[in-house]
C-alpha cells in the first residue's frame, strides 16, 4: 500500500523533534533521517490515480492544502465512490437543481444502512442520530464568501447536460473543483476556490467575465 508523502514526512519530522528534545540524536541518526526524508520526498505526489479530465473542459489551475475538518462521523467518500461506484449526484442530489449541492438527508443514508454494514461503528453512530430524529451536524468544508454567488446548477448544466457528457462519469467534472474525493474519507478542500481559480476557468471555458455574474 502506498503511503501519502505528506503524512510520512510529518511523521519523520515529529520523531526527529522528539529525539532532539531528548538530546539522544546522533550524527548517524541525523544522516539516516536525511536520507529517509529524501527518499520520501521523491515518492509520487498523489497516492491515487488521477481522474481523466473531460475533453471538453480546460481544467482550472490551482492547488490548496488545509487541515482536515473533523466531522461528527468520519464519512468514507472513498468507500462510496471508489469501491461502490456511487454517483456523486445520487447523494448530492440538489447539485443539478440548485445553487447548493446539499448534504444528503439522513433518510437517504438510512435507506441503505438499515441493512448494510450495520455492525460498523460509524453506521451505528449514524443509526443513533436517526433514532433520535436528528441529522449529524456536519461542518462546512467548501465555502465561498457571502458576496460570491456560486451556483452548482449552472455548472452542471453547462459541463454535463448541455455538453452531453455521460452522467455516470460526473465525478470527473465535480473533481475539477472538489478534488478527488475517491481518495478521501471526509471531504477535504483541495482547490483554492478563490477568484483567480474561478476566473482562469471562466476565461478558458467561456464562462461569463462580467463582475455581476458572480458578485450580486
Amino acid at each position: 500500500m502506498q503511503v501519502e508523502r505528506r503524512t510520512l514526512l510529518r511523521k519523520l519530522v515529529c520523531s526527529l523533534r522528539g529525539r532532539m528534545r531528548m538530546k539522544t540524536v546522533t550524527i548517524k541518526q541525523l544522516l539516516s533521517f536525511s536520507v529517509l526524508a529524501f527518499v520520501v520526498s521523491i515518492l509520487p505526489a498523489k497516492s491515487y490515480a488521477e481522474l481523466p479530465v473531460p475533453a471538453h473542459i480546460t481544467p482550472p489551475v490551482g492547488e490548496h492544502e488545509s487541515p482536515v475538518v473533523p466531522q461528527p462521523i468520519e464519512f468514507p467518500h472513498d468507500r462510496h465512490v471508489k469501491d461502490m461506484k456511487i454517483n456523486c449526484m445520487y447523494c448530492h442530489t440538489y447539485a443539478r437543481r440548485s445553487k447548493v449541492a446539499g448534504i444528503p438527508p439522513t433518510s437517504k443514508c438510512m435507506g441503505c444502512h438499515k441493512v448494510i454494514a450495520t455492525d460498523k461503528p460509524r453506521i451505528q453512530k449514524l443509526t443513533e442520530y436517526w433514532e433520535k430524529g436528528e441529522s449529524p451536524k456536519w461542518l462546512k468544508v467548501h465555502d465561498v464568501p457571502d458576496y460570491v454567488h456560486f451556483t452548482h446548477e449552472k455548472h452542471i448544466r453547462k459541463f454535463v447536460f448541455d455538453a452531453k457528457f455521460p452522467v455516470e462519469d460526473v465525478q470527473q467534472v465535480c473533481g475539477l473543483c472538489h478534488g478527488e474525493v475517491q481518495g478521501m474519507t471526509v471531504a477535504e478542500k483541495k482547490k483554492p476556490l478563490n477568484m483567480g481559480f474561478c476566473q482562469r476557468c471562466h476565461e478558458a471555458n467561456g464562462g461569463p467575465g462580467d463582475c455581476w455574474a458572480c458578485h450580486k
Binding site: G62, H64, S66, P67, V69, Y94, R97, S98, K99, V100, G102, I103, P104, P105, T106, S107, W130, G133, E134, S135, P136, K137, W138, L139, K140, V141, H142, D143, V144, P145, D146, Y147, T151, K189, P192, N194, M195, G196, F197, Q199
Partner: protein, 738 residues
Amino acid sequence: MSVKVNRRKFLKMLGWGGAGTALTGCDLPTTVTLEEGKEEVVSYLMPEEYAIPGIGVWYASTCTQCEAGCGLHGRVREGRVLKVEGNPDSPVNHGKSCMMGQSTVQAHYNPDRITSPMMRKGSTLQAVSWDEAMSALTSKIGPDSGVKGDRVGMVTGTVSGHQAVIIDELLAQVGSKNHYVHEVINTSVWSSVCRDMLGDEMPKLNFDKAGVILSFGADFLGTWISPVHNMGEYAKFRKGARGSLIQVEPKMTLTGGNADLWVPAKPGTEGALALGIANFILERGWNAVDVPSSVGKSLSQYTLTAVEKVTGVPVSKIKRIASMLTERGPSLVIAGASTENHENGYDAVASVMLLNLVMGNIGKTIEASAKFPEKALRAKQGNTKDLLLLAKALKDNKLDVLFTYNTNPAFTAPAVLQVSESLSGVGFKVAFSMFPDETTLQADLVLPIHSGMEDWGTHVPAYQPDTSSVLSLQQPLMEPIHKETRGFGDIMLSLLKLRNKDFGKFADYYSYLQTAVANMPADVTSNVEGASKDIWTNMLQKGIVKAKVSTNDLSPKLVDMKFKVKQDNSGYPMHLVPSARLGLWDGRHANIPWLQEFPDQIAKVVWGSWAELHPKKAAELGVKNGDYVRVTSASGSIETQVYIHKGIHPDAVSVPLGQGHDEFGRYAKGRGVNPLKILNPLMERRTGELATHATRVKVTNAHRHEKLVHLGGSESQVGRKFVKTISVDQLRRTEGEA
C-alpha cells in the same frame, strides 16, 4: 477616540486601498466571511419533495405591519423566511409592498423579541413557564376567579377577521363590553363624516378616475387609509393625461412633496378654505350639483377676502384652486390627519365633503365600498376616542383586569392623560406582546406571541378597494424561531375553553380557523376561484378569498355644520404638528433598524427626532440646522434639533411621531422625543377623538448644537447645476428648447 477623516483623506485611502487590491491579485486565499470548518451544515432528516436547499418557495400571507391588510408573498428557503414581496392576487396592494412591509423580516428576526412568558414577582418581571403563566391567568380570569365582567378590559390596535371574533367571544364570555380599539394614525373623523353624509364609513375612492385631487392634509401616499393601494392608484392618476394634485396642509408630507400646488393654510382653518372654495364655485355657477339655497346662504359669508383673512391663503390661490377643480375635473376632495384632528375636525371634513357634493363627485370618484358579507369579520378600526375612554376608566379605577394586544397606549397617550401612571392601579395586566415595549413592561403577565410570520390569522381590510370584498389569510411562513412563543389565537382559544366546552373540539387556532372559514356565508364560499378547490386550499395558495357583494349607490345628504376657528393662543403662538410618516408609523416600528436608517421623506433625517421650522421662524429664533429648541405646551415640553424647511407653515412646528421610546429594545430605546407626550387633552367636538393637531406651543432656543444626522446635507446645489433646471416661463416661451 475619534479619527477625523475628511473627503480628501477618504479619497486618498480609497485610492491606496484600490491599488492594493489590484496588486495582490485574485489568488490570495479569501479571508472574509469564509466559514470552512466553522459553520454547521445540517441536512434534512426526511426532506419534503418540494424542498430543495438553495431554492426558495413562496407562500402567501398577509402583512401585519399596519392596518391596510396588504397581501404578501414570503420567500422561504431551508425553512427560513428571507424576503417578502406583495401578493399580486391581492386587490389591496396588487403585488406591491412598502418599506414597512419589506422590513417585516426585521420584526420577525428582531433580537429583542420576548422569548418566554414573564410574570411580575415583586417589582420585576421574571421568566416563568407557560403552565405557571396559564394557571395565573386562569385564577384571575377563569370561571372560578370571581372576576366581574365590567371590570375586565381589552385594548387592541385595529383588529379584523377571526381575531376580532375571538376577542369579542372572550369579552362576551366574561361579560365585558370594554374593548378599546386604539390607533394614533387613524381616519376616524373622515369615517364619521362619510358615514353621516354618504352612508358608507369607508367609501371607495377612484383616484384613477380623477383629473384633479384636492387633499386637505390626507397623506395618502404615506399614512392615509391604505398607502400601498393609494400609491398604485396615484400612479394611474398621473399616467396618460396627467392629473393635478393640490395639497393643503401645515407641514409638507410625502404627498405634499409630490403635489403640483402645495398650500399651507393656517392650521385649524382648512374647513374655511374648503367652504371658501365651495362658495366661489357656487357664485360662479361652476357647480355640477345644485345645493339647497339655505346652504348657499350660509356659505355666502365665506367670501374670498374673508377666507384669505382666516386661512392666510391668498385670494389668487383660492381662485386658482377653484378653477383647477372645475377645469381639470372630475375631481376628488379628501381630508386627512392635519384637517381631521382639530377641535373643529368633523366640521372641516364635512366642508370638504360638501365640496365633493358640489362638484358632483359622489358616484364618480367616490363610490360605495364592497363591505364584507360577514359583519363579525369586518375591521374594528382603531381611534383615539377609545384611548381617552381607556384613560378615564384607568383613572377612575374601573378595571381589575386589562389585556393589551398590538397597541402601546403607555407610549402613545399624552402624558397629561397619565395612562402610564394609572396602569399601576389595574390589579392584573396581561400583555400579548412580541417586544418589551412601554406597556408590556408594565404588565403583570407577559405572554410572548408569535410574529406575523409565525402565526395564523385572517384579515378583512377596512378599506375595500375592489368591487368584490376581500378576506386575506395570514399563514405562517416558517416554524416559530423561539420555542416559547405562542400564537395569539392559540392563547385566546385556551382561555375560551375555560368557559365554553364547545371550543374544546379545536386542538389549536389553526383547526378553529379551518372550521370557521369553511362555515363562512355562502356568498363568500361560493365565490372561490378554481371550482375544484375548496375555500381553505384556495386561501392557502392565493392568500385571499373574494366575496361578491352588491353595493347600493351612495345617497349623499348634508349635515348640520358649525365651522368655527379657535383664536386662542394665550402665550403659545405656534401650532404643534405631530407628523406621521410611512416608516416608523406611530412608533411601533422604531425597533426596526432598516426603518430607523430610512431617511424621512422630507427632512432626510435618520435615527432621530427633529423639529421642523420655517426659515422665517428659525431666523426669528436665531437657530440654524442642528440647534436644539425647546417646544413647550401647557402639558409639557420636549427638546430636539431643528431642521429648517420651507415646506411648513411659518406658525407651525412639526415634530415627527415614532421616536422617544423609554423601552422597546436596543434600537428604539432612548432615541429622540415623542411629540404625543406634550399634547393637550383637547377633543374633536363632534366625535370625541383626541385633537392631536390642536395643541398650541411655544418654541424657544435651547442654545445647544449638535450636527443633525441627515442625508444630503445641503438643500441647494450651491450653483453647481448637477440637475439642470429651467423656469416655467422660459419653458413656455421656448417649448423646452432653451
